[in-house]
Structure formats: structure tokens, C-alpha cells
Amino acid sequence: MKQRILAATLALAAASSPALAEDSVFVGHLVDYTGPTSFVSKFYGPGVRDAVDYINSTGGIDGTKIEMETIDYAYKVPQAIANYKKWKSKGMIALQGWGTGDTEALIGFVAKDKVPVWSASYSGHLTDPTGKNPKTKKPAPYNFFYGPSYTDACRALVQWAAGDAKEKGISDPKFVHTGDNHPYPNAPKEGCAEYATELGLDVLPPVVVPLGPGDYKAQCLTIKESGAHYAYVGNLGGSVISLLKSCNTVGADVTYMGNVWAGDYLTIKAAEAQNYIFPTATPFWDAHADGMDLVYKIADMSGFAKDTKPTHHYIRGVCSAFYMKEAMEWAKANGGITGENIKQGMYVNKAWTPKGLEGVCLPSTWSSEDHRGSTVVSINKGSFEDGAVNIERIAEMTLPRRDDWVGY
């Protein structure tokens, strides 16, 4: 028995001693496990985390380890900025960010400090690196994200809605934006409404729905009475579940179109939603794609998928981490891993996918003029039927890269 105890203690010592690689780079990682967006961050955050662990266990960035510190900032912007400053003094060279509020607040800081950020905020405001569009508030040269921007996804949904309305014979389709008065739901509000008007949809005044669960019958009655046919859902998680449930009770006959974070099998299941439309930029967890093997391997290492099936937001996190990894590899081969070089590394290839993730991450292109990685949006329809969630892909929209759409 004594031997066993000794073995266990030794194993513990081996496991807990920090793997102090001589050569490492420091990366910050913001997550929200306790705040209002924890519903999706609980999947995206581990996606990034596990991917980085996997990268480190397979040799890192050509031998350089990624030292990543994960901090739960509960979706509070001031806390994110305070952490950013702390990390900066520790020599952070890149950041895996999270929300829209904090990422947009940090635009100026990261540009000054030359720290590239891969955010989980897909705000259109992050896509103009030079500020050439007069509508851009602030140029964002160091901001990247994987997938279509919120505005582009909303534009794709609106485009789909216009077609759908024609099919159904609705002569004057009406469109309404719902969401909290908060940077994240607000991000696509203007750009999307403009495009909807362009397509001949009637845009109604937006309806404010708080970013948390609650009883939203009053808001649903407003939506119902306004006669809207298509409602964009700008929130996520509990708020969306409550909204869909309340509106179902009220009997508002509206097609709900969620944003990228508002649609996954958990939301549809909890809300018992019917014909709920939402965009994606990755396959779902049980899809058959070449690159999914690597995703499963990453999840197996941490045992994340052991108990419950992750939502596809996990895969998004993996993509985000792998784009960062490949940009770092280029940087290392071309003058060392610095913020500036990593940024250049993102521009080198056109329509690229990280190695091993083919069919999982969409081929994306970033250039020094345009940070819209991808403008391809898959549109899905999900329903809860007989205790099971059925999701089918109904369309794929490729939006043009219009110059007047950069940055918003």
C-alpha cells in the first residue's frame, strides 16, 4: 500500500508541476462562465482551451508552447479591460476574446499595443482595419474573428426572408429587430435594417427584450400586433428561450431568425421551438466532415464531450484557436512571434483552412483592407418534435463583399 501512495504522490507531482517550457508565448483568454452569456461561452471557451492544450501536446508552435490564462469576466466590460491591462504587463502577445462590449472597447488598446485579438464577437464594427468606410467609428487593425459578421449573417437571413416571403406570397413582408439595448444585439441593427429596406422589406421599430430570462408576453404582444412576419432575435440563451416561449403562448405567427449565438440544439430543445431559423459557420457536432476527427480528438483529450453532447459553438472555438496557431507559425518562421507578425500571418494565405480542420472551418480570407474572414452563411431550420431536435440546412447564402459594408 505504501508503494501505491508513493506512486500516487509522484503521479500528482508530475501532473501538477507546471510544464515550464523554456520557450513560450503568453495568450489571454476571456470567458463568461457565470454571466449572461454563459449559455454559449460554456461551450466556446472550452473549445479554445482544449484546442490550445492539444496544440501544446503536439509540439506547440514549432516547439514554442502557448501559455494561456483563462479568466471568467462575467461579461462585464470594466473587468475585461482591467484583465487586459494586467495581462499586458505580463507580456501578452495575443488575446482570445469573448463579448462585443469588451472587444469593441478594447479596439483602441489592442491597436496601440499591437495585440491581435480573436474574438467571439462577430460585430461588423471589427471588420474595417483601415477605417476607409466613412461609417466606421474606429479602425480595428488588430481584430479578427472566424465566420461571417453579425451584420452579414443578419443580411443573409434577411435575403433568405425576402425569398421566403415571395414563395409564400406575402406581398409586404415586415421585418423587426428584437434584442437588448446592448452592444451585442445592437451591432447588426442598422446595417441589417438598411439591407432589408433595400430588398423591399418593411422595417418596423425595434423591440427591446432584456438579455436574460423573463416573461416577455408584453413584448410578444407588441410584435404580434405590429404584424411583423420576420423577427431577428439578437439575444442568446435564456432570453431567447423565454421570448420564443412567451411568443408561442401569445400566438404571434412570426418566423424567428436567431443570430449566430441564438441557435443551437439546446436552445431549440428548451424553447420547444418550431421552424426556428438560425445561421451557422461550422458543421454540427455529429456531422460527417473530414476535419471532425480532429475535433473529436481534441474533445477526447479533456473529456469535454464525455457526458453531454457539446453544441457546435465548441467547434467555433476550436477554429478560432487554430487560425491563431497557424498565424503564429508563420510569424515564427518570419521574424519571430510578435503581434505584428501574427497579424501579417493572417494575411498570407487566401481562402485558407487550418490543417486538419478541412470541412469544419470555412475557407476564410483576411486582408489588410478587409477583415471579413468569410461571407458564406449557412441557414438552418430547427424544430422540436416528439422530444427530439431536428435541424436541417435549408440554404447557403454567399454575400458579396460590398465596400460600403466593411466595418458595419
Partner: protein, 379 residues
């Protein structure tokens, strides 16, 4: 209030009124304060950025807590909306600087004055209220101001918040912790000196009289409405200064920073520090700000030992490998609860202090000092 807030310890011999109202109770106390300030002045050369940033935040929150102490500790009014005024100061300073281009170091006191005005406006309905009704009215002002911040795009940048420039002092950018520390230290000294002096003036005694018994105070000729509104104004002034310092330290202001939770934290600071005690405000701010970090590190230590002990126990029955994996799993579960333990500790500390030490840290400190002074014949 049913109890005497600060019973005078024995061995405290003051025979004249001017003795009674002196800034420092003894010469030694005065010397200690001067020495302390001198030590702080040179400390920035020895401390690293982490400690400096902690001291900066303690100073900023300490100023705001001091303001609240004027309102709650001196005047006996309750405010559940202090963080809204703190926020107003932050936005006002950023707004002034962004729109008019007035140098930031002037914007900070100007923001304080603007906040005073707003505080007095909210103080008008509050002047007629007391106790619970006042608490609820200030709670409402918290929500109303918060809503204003998230909607007034011209003033606060709306939901996006607004950028606050770096403080520039005659050509020197105060953008490092080391330089910003001096700015905060300056305001801390000014504010604490001002409030200490307020307390020994006629106005200060009037406020205390209102707290102790407002009817008697009124009969003695103290204008209740005027003094209550004034005390709202004074308290808002310091909240505004604190907020402005906070804004330019973070260089960014967002409505999310100024929730009811922060208002509660301010109240917790002065209760834990000691109601009505000037130095207690700073003590309380330090306690509330350092508590979560202390909890974080102590949870981490606890998890480490817990893991080792659990492995020893488990490996009696199981293979080393399984024991390790089970213990790691458990450790991770506790680790994940860290954020919640930090929050819970704030709530628990408020409850425990109110039950066991209702007069705050400063009271405990006075007891310690008295027993040391009177050794070996302490009572």
C-alpha cells in the same frame, strides 16, 4: 441609534473644546499620518505594478466610500444608489474632455461638481424621506440613472460606453500605474483632509446632530432640508471624483461598471470600515477589494491540499492512476466554483460583520490600541 457609536476609551484626556476638535487626537497620531503619506510617496519606486494597481483602486473606491460615509455615517441617510453617482462622475469627466477638450486633470474636479449638482437634484425628494422610504427612493435613482447612461448616446456613448483620455499633466502622460498612483494619492489626501475638517466644523456637527435625532436637531435650529440636500451633494461630489479617477485609469467607461452591486459594495465598505469614521472608509475599501483576491488564493491553496489528502486516502483503496484522476476531477469542480465562492464571501462578510462587529474594523482597531496603551491594566 440606540448605542453610542464611539465610546471614548479611558486614558483619553481632553479638557478643552479646541482639543476636542483637533484634526489628530494626539501628536503621535499626526506624526504617524504624515509618515504614512511620506512612505506612500516613495513606495511607488519599490512596489511592482500589481501592488500599485491595487493601491490605486483602493484609493479610488476609498474616495467614493468616504463620500457615502458623509451621507450615511454622518447624516444617517441611507443611499442604495451611490454607484450611479460614481458612474455619473466617470461619464461626466470623459464627456467634458471629449467634447470641450478641457484638460483631463481639470475635468476631474469639474466632473465632481457636475455630480454634486445631479446628487442634489436627486437629494430633493430624498430630503423629505427617511429610513426605508429613502432606501427605496435611492434604489430607484440607481435604476433611473443606469437607464439614462445606457440611452444617452450624446453623453455616455450609450450601450457602447465611451473612451476616456489619459490624464496629461503639463505634458506628462500619466498612463503608467506609477504615475497615476500620485494623482490618486493627491486626491485621497485632499478628500480625506476635507472630510476630516468638515467633521470638526459647525456644518459637520449639524449633520451628526441630524443623524442622532433629527427632531431635536431641527428644534436646535438646524435646517433639516438644507443639510440633508447638502450632505447628498457632498457625498455625490466625492463619488464623482472617484468615478472620474476610475474612468481615466481604465481609459474607458461603460454602463456595466455601475450596477446596484457596486452600490451595495460601497455600503459594505463603510459598514465594515466603520460608519462615520473617516479612516474607516479607506480600511473598508481595502477590505472589500482585497477579499475576493484573498478568497481566490485561499481556494487555490485549499484545492491543492485537498487534492493531496484525497489522493492519499483514495490510493489506499484504488490504483494510483484512478485515484489521481478522481482527485483531479474533484479539484476541478471546486476550482470551477471559485467565482461563486468569491461572490459568496462578499455576502457572508457583510452578514458576519453586522452580527459580530457592527461598528466596523475601526472599532476593533481602537480596542486593540486602547488595550495596548493601557497595558497591563486594560479593562
Amino acid at each position: 441609534m440606540s448605542h453610542v457609536p464611539h465610546p471614548r476609551p479611558c486614558g483619553d484626556f481632553r479638557t478643552t473644546y479646541s482639543n476636542d476638535t483637533s484634526l489628530f487626537r494626539t501628536k503621535v497620531e499626526g506624526r504617524i499620518v504624515y509618515l504614512g503619506i511620506a512612505a506612500l510617496l516613495i513606495s511607488s519606486f519599490f512596489l511592482n505594478d500589481y501592488y500599485l494597481s491595487q493601491m490605486i483602486t483602493i484609493g479610488i473606491y476609498g474616495i467614493a466610500a468616504l463620500g457615502l460615509n458623509v451621507l450615511v455615517g454622518f447624516t444617517g441617510q441611507i443611499s442604495l444608489g451611490h454607484s450611479a453617482f460614481f458612474g455619473f462622475g466617470a461619464f461626466a469627466s470623459a464627456w467634458l474632455n471629449n467634447t470641450t477638450g478641457i484638460p483631463v486633470f481639470l475635468c476631474i474636479p469639474l466632473a465632481g461638481l457636475m455630480t454634486t449638482a445631479v446628487g442634489m437634484i436627486f437629494g430633493i425628494p430624498a430630503a423629505r424621506l427617511k429610513g426605508l422610504y429613502l432606501a427605496i427612493a435611492t434604489l430607484a435613482s440607481q435604476f433611473i440613472l443606469q437607464d439614462f447612461f445606457s440611452r444617452a448616446d450624446w453623453f455616455s456613448g450609450g450601450a457602447y460606453g465611451s473612451a476616456a483620455e489619459v490624464v496629461n499633466f503639463f505634458g506628462i502622460d500619466l498612463d503608467t500605474d506609477q504615475s497615476y498612483f500620485y494623482l490618486v494619492l493627491f486626491w485621497v489626501v485632499v478628500s480625506f483632509l476635507a472630510v476630516s475638517n468638515l467633521r470638526r466644523s459647525r456644518d459637520g456637527r449639524a449633520l451628526v446632530a441630524i443623524r442622532d435625532h433629527y427632531l431635536s436637531a431641527e428644534i436646535m435650529g438646524i435646517n433639516l432640508t438644507r443639510y440633508r440636500i447638502t450632505s447628498f451633494g457632498v457625498s455625490s461630489f466625492f463619488a464623482g471624483i472617484g468615478g472620474a479617477l476610475y474612468a481615466h485609469y481604465l481609459q474607458y467607461v461603460s454602463v456595466e461598471g455601475f450596477t446596484i452591486l457596486l452600490s451595495i459594495q460601497f455600503l459594505a465598505m463603510i459598514i465594515i470600515g466603520g460608519l462615520g469614521s473617516v479612516s474607516g472608509s479607506l480600511l473598508g475599501a481595502a477590505f472589500i477589494l482585497l477579499l475576493p483576491q484573498f478568497m481566490e488564493s485561499s481556494v487555490a491553496t485549499f484545492v491543492e491540499y485537498f487534492k493531496i489528502i484525497e489522493i492519499w486516502i483514495l490510493s489506499i483503496f484504488q490504483e494510483a492512476e484512478t485515484a489521481l484522476s478522481i482527485a483531479t476531477e474533484h479539484a476541478r469542480t471546486i476550482e470551477q466554483g471559485k467565482a461563486y465562492i468569491k461572490e459568496m464571501s462578499v455576502g457572508a462578510v457583510i452578514i458576519l460583520f453586522l452580527i459580530f462587529e457592527p461598528e466596523g474594523l475601526i472599532h476593533r482597531w481602537r480596542l486593540i490600541r486602547a488595550s495596548w496603551k493601557l497595558y497591563p491594566f486594560s479593562h
